[in-house]
């Protein structure tokens, strides 16, 4: 009797576990493919290159470290840095005004490489050539990095339509937020929300919210970093992200009505509307790539003594 009652209790507990696991037909959450994060390539002047205080007679190196804290690898030279915001000739840094690429591959973070790769860009030596007025002069050295990047998303969504509502129960639903932790790769431009609605009788609609979370500036994929220094090119290519839905490919997005669209960010945010014909209900993996050029800046105060 004792053994029979313990088996019975075990069976009841197992039943409760199974019932609570799949009750209401919710869409399964993401598989957690990615480490996530809102950073791409960060840059910083090396602590001693240049030193924060120097004398006019000194010659000091100027270097920046680029660190890839996102999950997209950059090949040799793809990430480029330059010095700006001062008259570089006064500092013997004229060549630093042109973009200079990394000498090696700048690997992103991954399951086996959680730190992200670092590359150093060397701008040569700084020597201040003008007479100092008074005892000292202070300057702000500024550097910027320009690089192509890609954000990836793998999100479980529910394929259903108005005609299929009776059949969808227990398979999936469209009511909840679809983006879950680990669904979006680490990158400065993020997909922060995907919601769904029924569209007509046999279509489902996706509202894909895209945000620039990295603190830098976004430009259209394929833009030339040097040409972005020109005002017209800068204004023309600014705040644009290319969105490609790689699965399913028969989805229609934006004005282009295809699986590829370009979205404009306003106030660092934009929403892309996509829709798809659905003939039977199922859970689908919505795979999306966002392609763009990203520019971030950093600065360092330098005091030059007579």
């Amino acid at each position: 009797m004792k053994i029979k009652s313990s088996i019975l209790i075990f069976l009841v507990i197992c039943s409760l576990v199974f019932i609570s696991a799949d009750c209401g037909g919710k869409t399964p959450t993401g598989a957690g493919t990615y480490l996530g994060g809102t950073q791409g390539v960060t840059l910083a002047f090396k602590a001693s290159s240049p030193v924060p205080t120097l004398q006019q007679k000194d010659t000091v190196p100027v270097k920046v470290d680029l660190k890839n804290l996102g999950e997209f690898d950059l090949q040799i030279g793809e990430a480029k840095a330059k010095i700006f915001g001062i008259n570089l000739a006064n500092f013997g840094l004229t060549s630093a005004g042109n973009y200079k690429g990394t000498p090696g591959i700048l690997r992103g973070k991954s399951e086996f490489f959680t730190e992200g790769g670092t590359q150093t860009v060397d701008f040569g030596n700084l020597k201040y050539s003008l007479p100092i007025s008074g005892e000292l002069e202070k300057y702000t050295l500024r550097a910027k990095v320009c690089y192509p990047y890609q954000s990836k998303a793998t999100v479980n969504v529910c394929m259903t339509s108005a005609n299929l509502q009776d059949q969808t129960t227990g398979i999936c639903s469209i009511t909840e937020e679809k983006v879950a932790a680990g669904d979006i790769s680490g990158a400065p431009v993020q997909i922060t929300s995907i919601t769904q609605e029924l569209r007509g009788a046999n279509q489902v609609r996706f509202n894909i919210k895209i945000e620039n979370k990295g603190g830098g500036k976004v430009f259209l994929s394929g833009s030339d970093c040097t040409k972005l220094e020109e005002n017209i090119e800068n204004l023309d290519k600014k705040d644009q992200v290319v969105v490609i839905v790689t699965n399913p490919t028969d989805i229609k997005c934006g004005q282009e009505d295809s699986n590829k669209a370009t979205i404009n960010l306003i106030g660092n945010t934009g929403t892309l509307i996509c829709y798809k014909d659905v003939t039977n209900p199922y859970v689908e993996k919505l795979n999306i790539n966002l392609d763009y050029i990203y520019i971030s800046e950093t600065s360092k105060e330098v005091t030059i003594y007579k």
């Binding site: 700006f84 915001g85 001062i86 008259n87 000739a89 006064n90 005004g97 050539s129 003008l130 007025s133 008074g134 005892e135 002069e137 300057y139 702000t140 500024r142 220094e229 005002n231 800068n234 204004l235 800046e297 600065s299």
Partner: protein
């Protein structure tokens, strides 16, 4: 225990009040001088009484300066007294100690350190006033950092307005350069027209003079020469109302000068040091007196 904490807090306040602040402070500007005590006596002088004129000359400037120091009195040579005479004094520059200026001082004696003046032929109710004048050349240098934007719509990591008031720091001087206003206008081909408007004002106790009259002391229209440098970029500013020789007349207490130059700028913006300097002659006049003159036979 609580008194210890209060003492610590008060100490922090005092220490933070003494440290920082940034600027160098000075108690004076340019060249200054004072009559030394009883040189001459200030109340009365008896006929035939020997006296000398002692002047302590002070240089608050950070450059070595030559001063033409002249003295005279208000009476004719009939009574002798202080005959008009001048001496060229070489004044070393002031030193900087921490954030204070320590001026250079030099004592000058008229007629000389070991010779004296006297008054003779004094009549009743006569008095005299001794006049000292220092003539010297000085340069006021004002520095600032200005931001120049090539593209009006471009976003910049610093405040970089097309039109703005700018800060200047300057050496201690009787003529000041203040109220700098910057304006920029894009003129195409990566060029920007930079306009700088600033005020030159005489805030000292003396008068601006033509720098070429320091030794001759002749009366000429006072003039100031001006130079504007966007350091490392250009000094070719066209200034108004400045003549071709780089000088402008300065008959008033202050004047507004406007300078313009086209600037080539290949970046969306740059921050660059600016230096504005004005060179001028300056005259500082001081008097002592009236000093009562006592005739030899008075009261007899």
């Amino acid at each position: 225990m609580k008194y210890n904490i209060l003492a610590i807090i008060l100490s922090v306040f005092f220490i933070s009040a003494c440290v920082g602040g940034g600027g160098i402070s000075s108690n004076g500007e340019g060249i200054d001088f004072q009559f030394m005590t009883n040189q001459p006596p200030t109340d009365e002088l008896n006929e035939n009484q020997q006296f000398r004129v002692g002047i302590n000359t002070i240089n608050y400037g950070l450059e070595n300066t030559e001063v033409n120091l002249c003295i005279s009195d208000s009476l004719s040579s009939w009574v002798e007294g202080v005959t008009e005479s001048c001496k060229i004094i070489n004044m070393d520059k002031a030193e900087i100690s921490g954030n204070q200026i320590v001026p250079f001082q030099k004592k000058v004696y008229f007629p000389f350190e070991d010779t004296t003046y006297r008054y003779i032929n004094i009549e009743p109710n006569m008095d005299t006033t001794i006049v000292a004048e220092a003539y010297y050349k000085f340069i006021t240098i004002a520095n600032g950092q200005i931001c120049i934007k090539r593209d009006i719509e471009a976003e910049t990591p610093v405040e970089c307005e097309v039109s703005s008031q700018e800060q200047l720091t300057s050496n201690s001087a009787p003529v000041k350069i203040t109220s700098l206003e910057k304006k920029t206008y894009p003129i195409g081909n990566n060029k920007v027209q930079l306009t700088l408007k600033f005020t030159v004002s005489n805030s000292g106790a003396g008068d601006v003079i033509d720098v070429n009259t320091i030794n001759s002391r002749e009366a000429k229209e006072p003039k100031i020469s001006v130079r504007v440098s966007l350091k490392g970029i250009t000094t070719n500013f066209v200034c108004n109302p400045v003549r071709a020789d780089g000088r402008f007349a300065f008959n008033e207490k202050q004047k507004t000068i406007t300078c313009e130059a086209p600037i080539e700028i290949t970046q969306s913006f740059i921050e660059n040091p600016l230096e504005i300097s004005v060179e001028y002659g300056y005259k500082l006049k001081k008097t002592i007196g009236p000093i009562k003159l006592i005739p030899k036979d008075e009261g007899f």
